[in-house]
């Protein structure tokens, strides 16, 4: 495995891979993104049988990109930390995409999470009175950062979910909305939302284990709908399709699955 030191080196590696017939790829960085990753020292190259891997070092794991042969299977790869391949697709996979997945499996990855977007048009939203809850609702403050990070780390697997650093979280707290429900000062539940153009989306929705079963997620979701309903056209969230409580919650509010999907293939 070799650290990539420059954009020119990256381009040379890719050009050589292409010349070798490794045309199946999920590696589509713009030069600025490559430069940024090179400057951070997080871009690595690993030549394997019938392919080239570009690995982005995320400290705890690698985000894995590839150039693979269309005709031959790659070898099983051995890495010094877990790795994930993100594989977005629309609707059902095409034959070409299925070929790529076969090769991802051949490298020793397994299907981790299957996600789909669930969407709800604002017009389909029924205005409901907020459910009564016994806890205090407020926007999270910088002083809550450590508790929020602890909740996110307890709830989500870093391989799948975006878990910000403390610095990133403090920036998010200034720019975005994180609502918290507090029970005597400790966070019982949180909802982190953002807005992209005229769509609202949920980045994280978490209820602490000891507070589950009290409909706190539904309460936060209602509050979020009410907050954004006049400024967006629709609500749009990524959901693990096997997370039954989440799918049930969103379905109750009228959300439907869209065609945008993403699988994450992992190697522990």
């Amino acid at each position: 495995m070799k650290r990539i030191e420059s954009v020119a080196e990256y381009k040379e590696l890719v050009a050589t891979a292409k010349k070798s017939g490794y045309s199946l790829s999920n590696c589509f960085f713009f030069p600025t993104a490559i430069q940024q990753k090179v400057d951070q020292g997080i871009l690595l190259a690993l030549k394997i049988q019938n392919g080239l891997l570009i690995l982005e070092d995320m400290v705890d794991f690698y985000r894995c990109y590839y150039y693979l042969s269309n005709d031959s299977l790659p070898e099983v790869v051995t890495l010094d930390k877990p790795a994930v391949v993100e594989f977005p697709f629309n609707g059902a996979m095409t034959p070409k995409q299925l070929v790529q997945v076969e090769k991802i499996y051949a490298m020793g990855f397994n299907l981790g999470r299957e996600s789909s977007q669930m969407t709800l048009d604002v017009q389909a939203l029924t205005l409901e009175t907020l459910l009564p809850v016994a806890y205090e609702l407020s926007f999270a403050q910088e002083a809550d950062a450590d508790a929020i990070l602890e909740m996110l780390n307890k709830t989500f697997d870093k391989l799948y979910a975006f878990i910000p650093s403390k610095e990133e979280l403090c920036r998010i707290l200034k720019e975005c909305h994180i609502w918290v429900l507090k029970d005597n000062g400790s966070i019982a539940a949180l909802l982190h939302a953002s807005q992209q153009k005229d769509y609202a989306t949920i980045e994280h929705l978490v209820v602490a284990e000891q507070y589950r079963g009290q409909r706190l997620a539904a309460y936060l979701l209602q509050n979020y709908h009410n907050y954004y309903r006049d400024s967006v056209r629709a609500f749009c969230h990524w959901v693990d399709i096997h997370n039954k409580p989440a799918v049930k919650l969103y379905s109750t509010f009228g959300y439907n699955f869209g065609i945008k999907k993403a699988n994450e293939y992992i190697k522990r």
Binding site: Y10, K18, F28, F30, A33, P88, K197, D198, K260
Partner: protein, 77 residues
């Protein structure tokens, strides 16, 4: 082809009015995950292969630029 491209783009980012935008990349409207989806789908749908040298913001800032890229690659192929 234009309609097909816009449908493809809107499937990926329904919140963006693609025909109005002129700086999809430069203004950060499309993120890296969108780019992976868009390039994959463009390769699939239009039977082209977008190479590393074509992965430049100016090829993806507008629908017109993307169409031009598709045309160029189809004609080259």
């Amino acid at each position: 082809m234009k309609e097909q491209l816009i449908n493809l783009l809107e499937d990926i980012r329904p919140d963006v009015e693609f025909e109005k935008e002129t700086k999809l990349i430069d203004d950060g409207i499309l993120d890296s995950f969108d780019i992976i989806s868009i390039v994959s789908e463009m390769n699939e749908t239009f039977d082209i292969e977008i190479n590393v040298d074509e992965l430049e913001p100016y090829n993806f800032n507008t629908v017109a630029a993307m169409l031009e890229l598709i045309n160029k690659l189809q004609n080259a192929g």
